[in-house]
């Protein structure tokens, strides 16, 4: 069954990928990218990676499409014809692919339980997590505890992207000289489309509620700070789409967004530093409570919250930065 789904979805994936590269109209390419993400996520799901599928859905199909459209609104959307230079590119690409295919024949087959990946390190995680951390979702346990240092890095990457976009494009009311009042209200919102507006208003609270569910249910099911942050940001982006930028600023002002960006990362790091002050190593949550298992759980909840805050505020700030550039 897995193989059947896999082959089907992967073949579609290839067709779409070629379609993206061939499309001369960038808008078409962006639309196809949306489909690409959806197939990729379905494929992750078929391969037992529920957490990754949720992330790809929230990020790839939602946020990334919105950001690409935001950038496309500020740049021309027709690609110019390519002249020359293809032979070398084709050569480099073909060599790379040949090398990769050469390697495949000695790789472990899909799903082989004897593959080194499944016999070393991973069984330890599956076996020890119930005892050491006692949460059902092992992915969250690895992400939030065993490899929490990587995840801190991930939060900083997101923060850096936020800093970079705000540095380059500015954000009215927070970065640069423009004030929020300078934005022309223009036609950048949909509030003369009655039906989408009513339905959108109805959906926003549900999306935000669902984001909170994903945030705090991450220990038990697929989800966690990153996915929740992305979904939360998507909900607020929906609000900004239907009500306009200036309305959105009254809910969460740009200045507050920047404060949230920093404080999410600081919350994460703060947990680590608190562990150090309590006599443990950096990010050793066990010292947070008298019972090490409880300490681990508290630590994971706290850092996931930090991840969620930073991701949601950064993605929203990036969206605002692109949207405000066109006003």
């Amino acid at each position: 069954m897995t193989v059947f789904f896999g082959i089907f979805l992967l073949t579609l994936l290839l067709i779409i990928a070629v379609g993206i590269v061939r499309a001369q109209n960038l808008f078409t390419a962006v639309m196809l990218t949306g489909i690409f993400s959806l197939i990729m996520a379905a494929n992750f799901f078929v391969l037992d990676a529920a957490d990754v599928a949720l992330t790809e859905a929230a990020v790839g199909a939602g946020i990334s499409t919105v950001l690409l459209l935001g950038a496309l609104a500020l740049t021309p959307s027709q690609e110019q014809d390519v002249r020359g230079g293809r032979i070398l590119a084709l050569f480099v690409v073909t060599v790379t692919t040949a090398v990769v295919v050469y390697a495949t024949f000695e790789k472990p087959r899909l799903g082989d339980p004897q593959a080194p990946v499944h016999t070393h390190v991973a069984p330890w995680y599956l076996e020890k997590t119930p005892e050491l951390i006692d949460i059902p979702n092992v992915v969250t346990a690895v992400l939030g505890a065993y490899r929490a240092y990587d995840t801190l890095g991930e939060v900083i990457v997101v923060l850096t992207a936020g800093i970079g976009v705000l540095f380059l494009l500015g954000l009215p009311g927070a970065v640069g000289r423009r004030k929020a009042d300078d934005l022309s209200s223009g036609r950048m919102h949909l509030n003369h489309h009655l039906v989408p507006q009513v339905v959108g208003r109805l959906l926003v609270p549900f999306i935000l509620l669902f984001a909170l569910y994903v945030q705090f249910h991450g220990e038990y099911g697929p989800g966690g700070g990153f996915q929740a942050g992305a979904i939360f940001a998507a909900g607020l982006i929906l609000f900004a789409l239907i009500e306009g930028e200036r309305e959105a600023y009254t809910i969460l002002s740009p200045r507050l967004l920047m404060v949230l960006m920093g404080s999410g990362a600081l919350l994460y790091g703060g947990v680590g530093v608190a562990n150090m002050l309590l006599g443990g190593n950096f990010l050793e949550y066990s010292v947070l409570a008298s019972d090490p298992v409880k300490g681990q759980q508290w630590g994971i909840i706290a850092i996931e919250l930090g991840v969620g805050i930073t991701v949601a505020s950064v993605l929203l700030a990036i969206y605002h930065a692109f949207a405000a550039r066109g006003l």
Binding site: V100, K107, Y149, V157, L159, G170, N281
Partner: protein
């Protein structure tokens, strides 16, 4: 746990967590002060760590107290202690003396964000240097890259943007190649920890994926390290970045990629892949030699001071790799020492360039003519650092070139070729540095150079500290050479 035991984590945590604080703070002066304080603190920690490495050997720190390979461990030995010194030293010095220059080039509203990005770049580079986990290297590589793109894009001209975009594309391709390689190794060994990989890779019977992984990792890191012919992003990025940023990244960003390349290839691959030492050498040595020749040749004919120095950097990367490709103790020692010395020389040169740029209208060789008379201190420091780049006896550059030559002579026929190339390129270096110095002192002043005065004393002091470091480490090379020898022994211990 005592403070001393926490130093490896603090090395990363201090700059990494100061950055979000800067996002909260408004005000350029406060941001500068905080960033500089964090950089100086990081430098102090790096010095403490170096002293500790010299006395106790390898330091291991388990993040979250999870034992490797299940958690992530930090592992510091002679090699990364040296890299840490270079990174944190460069950041602290350039920030301390670069405030006025940066304030002149960047919109004051955005300076706080700029300093935050700078600190993240610093933390990312340091994070790559200390970690013992292959995937963690990828994460910190991306942290430092993204932050570096931002600080390069802060350059005043529009070319800074296209340079950033090119760097962003090539850097991401390089990082993704590295990720593919790590994935293949993980697939065959089931682990991400360097030490554990080394232990388990010997048992892998199907070697094709490992070989391909070695290829991907080497090419990916070569892209990041600007090894010829993958250097095309470097000249524009160095030329159009803010001058102080150029001084910082020229001193350390390519070096860190080379460090990972050395660590991965020696620790994980060479001991366990039959013939990999040979493949490594036969892949890198020709590229290193070509890079040296072509970088030096282009620099000789370049008319823009920063671009000239950037092409010289391409050649210098070649020197470092040439030493490493000998895979002998003398060779690696020479390469690593050159990593350190080149950072000193280029850091000083680009700082001097930043000082010139504050007072002159442009940086083409015609624009700097005569500045030696109106800005004597800056010009003298530039000449001194240039001497180190060329390798005049008594400067740091001489030490590493001498070590490299003697390592090459051990190598037989290939060594002779290497010696010829090194001598040729040193002559080229004499020519291109002489063109600069001749213009500085004997050119007829024109335009701004006539009325130019010395830049703020902080900057001049910083340039002189860097320049004098070149002399100091030229006369007393004990510290870098000692650490490099330890590093070489550590790396070679893994060979069969």
């Amino acid at each position: 746990m005592s403070l001393a035991a926490q130093l490896p984590a603090l090395q990363i945590v201090v700059p990494l967590l100061t950055a979000p604080v800067l996002v909260l703070l408004r005000g350029a002066n406060l941001a500068w002060a905080a960033a500089t304080a964090a950089s100086v603190m990081a430098f102090v920690i790096a010095v403490a760590l170096t002293l500790e490495v010299q006395s106790v050997g390898v330091i291991v720190y388990e993040m979250g107290a999870w034992p490797a390979p299940f958690g992530i461990e930090l592992r510091i030995d002679g090699l990364n202690a040296l890299v840490l010194l270079v990174i944190t030293g460069a950041s602290a010095l350039t920030l301390l003396c670069g405030r006025a220059s940066l304030a002149g080039e960047i919109d004051p509203d955005r300076l706080a964000l700029f300093y935050a990005a700078w600190l993240i770049a610093l933390a990312g580079l340091a994070g790559i240097a200390v970690t013992g986990d292959a995937f963690n290297v990828f994460v910190f590589m991306e942290i430092s890259s993204l932050a570096t793109y931002i600080i390069i894009a802060a350059g005043p001209n529009r070319q800074a943007l296209t340079a950033t975009f090119k760097y962003l594309i090539m850097g991401t391709v390089g990082a993704t190649f590295y990720l593919i390689g790590v994935g293949l190794v993980y697939m065959m060994t089931g682990t991400l920890n360097f030490a554990d990989m080394e232990a388990r890779i010997g048992e892998v019977t199907d070697q094709r994926p490992i070989l391909v992984a070695a290829g991907f990792i080497t090419v990916g890191l070569a892209l990041k390290a600007a090894v010829f012919p993958l250097h095309v992003w470097l000249p524009n990025a160095y030329t159009h970045a803010p001058h102080i940023v150029t001084a910082f990244i020229a001193a350390c960003s390519t070096k860190v990629a080379i460090y990972v390349l050395l660590r991965f290839d020696f620790v994980v691959f060479q001991g366990n892949l039959t013939g990999h030492a040979f493949q490594f050498a036969s892949f890198l040595a020709p590229l290193a030699l070509l890079g040296i020749l072509i970088g030096s040749a282009v620099a000789m004919f370049e008319g823009h001071l920063k671009r000239l120095l950037a092409y010289s950097s391409v050649a210098q990367v070649g020197y470092i790799l040439l030493g490493a490709s000998f895979a002998s103790k003398a060779g690696i020692t020479a390469g690593v020492v050159h990593m350190f010395n080149h950072a000193l020389a280029k850091g000083a040169l680009f700082l001097a360039v930043a000082a010139l740029a504050m007072r002159l209208s442009g940086l083409r060789l015609a624009d700097i003519a005569g500045a030696g008379r109106t800005m004597p201190w800056t010009a003298a420091a530039l000449a001194l650092a240039g001497a180190s780049l060329v390798g005049i006896p008594g400067t740091a550059g001489f030490i590493s070139k001498w070590l490299l030559l003697s390592a090459a002579l051990e190598q037989g026929p290939l060594g002779i070729v290497a010696v010829v190339v090194i001598v040729l390129s040193s002559l080229a270096a004499v020519i291109y540095m002489w063109r600069v110095i001749e213009r500085l002192y004997f050119g007829t002043p024109a335009g701004n150079a006539l009325s130019a005065s010395e830049p703020p004393w902080m900057l001049v002091a910083g340039v002189w500290v860097a320049a004098l470091a070149n002399v100091y480490f030229g006369l007393m090379p004990g510290l870098p050479v000692g650490l490099s020898e330890a590093a070489a022994e550590e790396l070679l211990r893994h060979l069969p």
